[in-house]
């Protein structure tokens, strides 16, 4: 059973289509990256999942059930446009948010207290949010998203505005939540975090989903038969099975070359060929980065 299943979701506004027949499959206990350039429709999809807006067509099931109001407590949502009540005290704020998610007052209070201790904010319980530093306020915001232990956590650009120390802490927290069994949807256009964290991705561009799969599947799909070789001594191409696209001198008589095969050759064959002509120190397949895939796809679409 999938954590979330969206089938043929469409959302139209007066002048444009925000989502055009988008389907996604989000497996349980994964970190699922929802990628796409600004204005692609990510936030629209997320708002539909959060029932802030309704889809015009299509259906969504969450843990096997059709999405409805009772799932509000199942989801934890950190929107990109986020904020807290500035005049409200940290403790009251957290308890209030938890109550709105459906916890009773007593549980809400207990949960707030334990989370605030975990994030070293216990001394700030009775302080107003406006007295907090930006980093601390972000921690409070994060706590408010996950404290009711949602099975599905949706984070829209979670690291925007976080300093590196807090970003690292949040990353650790996200991984821990995944370990505990939560499914995390991660919307971003920062490819380095996708590379580090996501197990699955979907790419949305111009209101349409153009790519979906596990990170490995996607990368396999975009293998370009390119290899990085570090070697001692120059060699030259003998045959048409591969070509050298780039060569860089690293040290005296020590080079890094990038080779591209014509697709038939397997890596073992290539290594055999290379050892005949040079002293091989390093041999790795150059896999495309998510960034490259992203740019290639989005640009390709744009140039159509």
């Amino acid at each position: 059973m999938e954590a979330l299943l969206a089938r043929n979701v469409t959302k139209r506004y007066t002048n444009h289509i925000a989502l055009n027949d988008v389907s996604v499959t989000i497996p349980q206990k994964t970190i699922y990256g929802l990628l796409g350039p600004n204005g692609a429709g990510k936030t629209t999809l997320i708002r539909i999942i959060n029932q802030i807006i309704n889809a015009d067509a299509g259906e969504i099931t969450i843990f096997g059930e059709p999405l409805s109001q009772k799932h509000i407590g199942t989801i934890g949502y950190l929107p990109e446009e986020r904020g807290l009540y500035k005049k409200l005290k940290v403790g009251e704020q957290l308890t209030y948010f938890a109550e709105l998610k459906g916890l009773d007052r007593k549980t809400a209070l207990e949960k707030s207290k334990s989370w605030i201790r975990k994030f070293d904010l216990a001394d700030w319980w009775n302080k107003k949010v406006e007295d907090l530093s930006k980093g601390m306020a972000q921690k409070v915001q994060f706590i408010s998203t996950v404290m009711h232990e949602p099975k599905l956590i949706i984070l829209d650009e979670p690291f925007s505005g976080f300093d590196p120390v807090n970003a690292q802490m949040i990353t650790r927290e996200i991984l821990e939540l995944k370990e505990k069994g939560s499914t995390i949807i991660f919307s971003t256009h920062r490819m380095e975090t996708v590379e580090d964290l996501c197990d699955h991705i979907a790419l949305i561009n111009k209101s349409t989903k153009i790519l979906e799969g596990s990170k490995k599947q996607v990368k396999d799909q975009f293998r370009s038969n390119t290899y990085i070789v570090e070697h001692r001594g120059v060699f030259n191409v003998r045959d048409d099975r591969f070509e050298i696209t780039e060569r860089k001198t690293l040290d005296e008589n020590f080079y890094r070359s990038i080779l591209k095969t014509n697709g038939d050759a397997n890596p073992n064959q290539l290594i055999r060929d290379l050892t005949d002509v040079t002293e091989v120190h390093t041999f790795i397949e150059k896999l495309p980065t998510m960034n490259e895939i992203f740019i290639q796809l989005v640009k390709g679409e744009t140039h159509e």
Binding site: I52, N54, D56, I72, P79, R82, G83, Y85, Y96
Partner: protein, 441 residues
């Protein structure tokens, strides 16, 4: 419903726990009487210390003899008028009254020359003095002597008795009803304005602090809006209740100290001042008037008035409150809000002015009827009429329409609100609002 309650509770507690709420709640009942007292005191001082204004009388007719009183001293002048004017400019006299050679039965062309624009009060008083003098002269010319004249002057007050179908008579005091209508109408006006603004600012705050998207992923926008409107209403009612308690405690305490002793003291002074039986009669009459007024106030259907007042108080607030919430959701800051708040408040303002112009002066006129029926104006207009005992069918019709109006504005407001709170930085005009209203979510 449960979540609306949570929001209601939070809005209420947040505001009630603020220091500013505590200060306003305690200070305003103290400040208002204090301001009033200071104003009365200043006025009295001014009256006491005021010297009689000197008025030069340039009487070309030679007929008009004006008597000095507490406020005016009349000095006869004659000669060349240009010279008189010149001389006048060097004195601190108030003005020159130029009376041409007039025919008593057609007194035209009387002018007053002053250094500054005279106040309405002074003009009226001087006109009155001259008028009385001329009419005395006319009577004398007709051979009616002064004594007869005085005995002809009559002083009566008509008291109003309402008769209903069953023939029951209720005595009422129009003056008291006027004041009652005025005070209640003003309360509603202030309440809606102050707390409506609170709703709007609250919504703008949620929007600019961007907390709103977090909230509406947990509750429906309508619940958020309703919780806020009701929560702030509860704050207002609480404040109002505290004020009423404070004011009644304070005023009864003040009456205990001053109210009881003052009339007696005054009476004593007046008695010693003029010891003729006629003026004692006058005092008796005056005291009777006060007693009558209090009695007629007590005779009013106070419970009914209080209930209906509360109804319009809440109804008016809810009707306008929803619209204020919609405005708050549509804009990004308070400045932008102004273009929308004015048209919303316009019918309310009109009914507030209508209260003075025709509702209180003629509570049963056609205009008063329509104003007290239409939901946008009825909260003030009908409350102004409450003391004048409007027909029951009008009350019911007006209240039904007010409830319907509240549902109507809430429906419109919620449709704008659900879109507006998620829109940032868009230039909003009425066309955009209409688009949001039509949009499906």
């Amino acid at each position: 419903m449960n979540k609306t309650w949570l929001i209601f509770k939070r809005e209420f507690l947040n505001r009630v726990q603020k220091k500013s709420f505590l200060i306003a709640t305690i200070l305003i009942p103290l400040i208002f009487p204090a301001i009033l007292a200071v104003m009365v005191w200043v006025f009295m001082k001014q009256e006491e210390g005021a010297k009689a204004a000197v008025i030069e009388v340039y009487d070309e007719s030679g007929k008009i003899d004006l008597e000095d009183d507490e406020r005016y001293k009349f000095v006869k002048v004659s000669g060349d008028f240009e010279q008189v004017k010149k001389a006048f400019n060097e004195t601190d006299h108030y003005g020159i009254l130029r009376i041409p050679d007039i025919d008593l039965f057609n007194p035209e062309g009387i002018r007053i020359y002053t250094k500054e624009n005279p106040s309405i009060r002074k003009m009226e008083e001087i006109t009155g003095i001259v008028e009385r003098r001329i009419s005395d002269l006319k009577l004398l010319q007709s051979n009616i002597d002064r004594e007869l004249l005085n005995s002809l002057k009559t002083n009566i007050s008509i008291s109003n008795v309402n008769v209903d179908e069953s023939g029951t008579e209720t005595e009422s005091n129009t003056g008291i009803l006027y004041i009652l209508g005025f005070v209640l109408g003003m309360f509603i006006y202030m309440f809606v304005l102050i707390y409506g603004m609170q709703i709007m600012l609250g919504v703008i705050d949620e929007k600019t602090s961007k907390v709103v998207e977090v909230i509406i992923s947990s509750v429906r926008p309508f619940q958020l809006m309703l919780g806020k409107i009701l929560g702030i209403a509860a704050v207002g009612l609480t404040q109002f209740a505290i004020w009423i308690i404070l004011i009644s405690v304070l005023s009864s305490a003040t009456l205990g100290v001053l109210g009881v002793s003052m009339p007696q003291q005054q009476a004593m002074e007046q008695v010693t001042k003029m010891q003729d039986p006629e003026s004692q009669e006058e005092i008796k009459k005056q005291n009777n008037k006060v007693i009558e007024a209090i009695a007629s106030f007590n005779k009013l259907p106070l419970f009914k008035i209080a209930f209906n007042f509360l109804f319009y108080f809440l109804g008016g607030y809810l009707l306008y409150g929803a619209l204020f919430a919609a405005v708050g959701s549509a804009v990004d800051n308070q400045q932008e809000a102004q273009q929308f708040t004015f048209p919303i408040m316009l019918p309310f303002l009109i009914s507030y002015f209508g209260l003075f112009v025709f509702i209180l002066t003629d509570p049963h006129s056609t205009a008063s009827f329509w104003f007290s029926i239409i939901p946008f104006t009825s909260p003030i207009a009908m409350v102004g009429r409450l003391g004048f005992d409007p027909p029951t069918w009008q009350l019911i019709l007006s209240q039904v329409l007010l409830v319907a109006g509240f549902f109507f504005t809430t429906w419109i407001a919620s449709r704008i609100y659900r879109i507006g709170i998620l829109m940032h930085g868009s230039k909003v005009n009425y066309k955009v609002l209409a688009k949001w209203f039509m949009m499906k979510v």
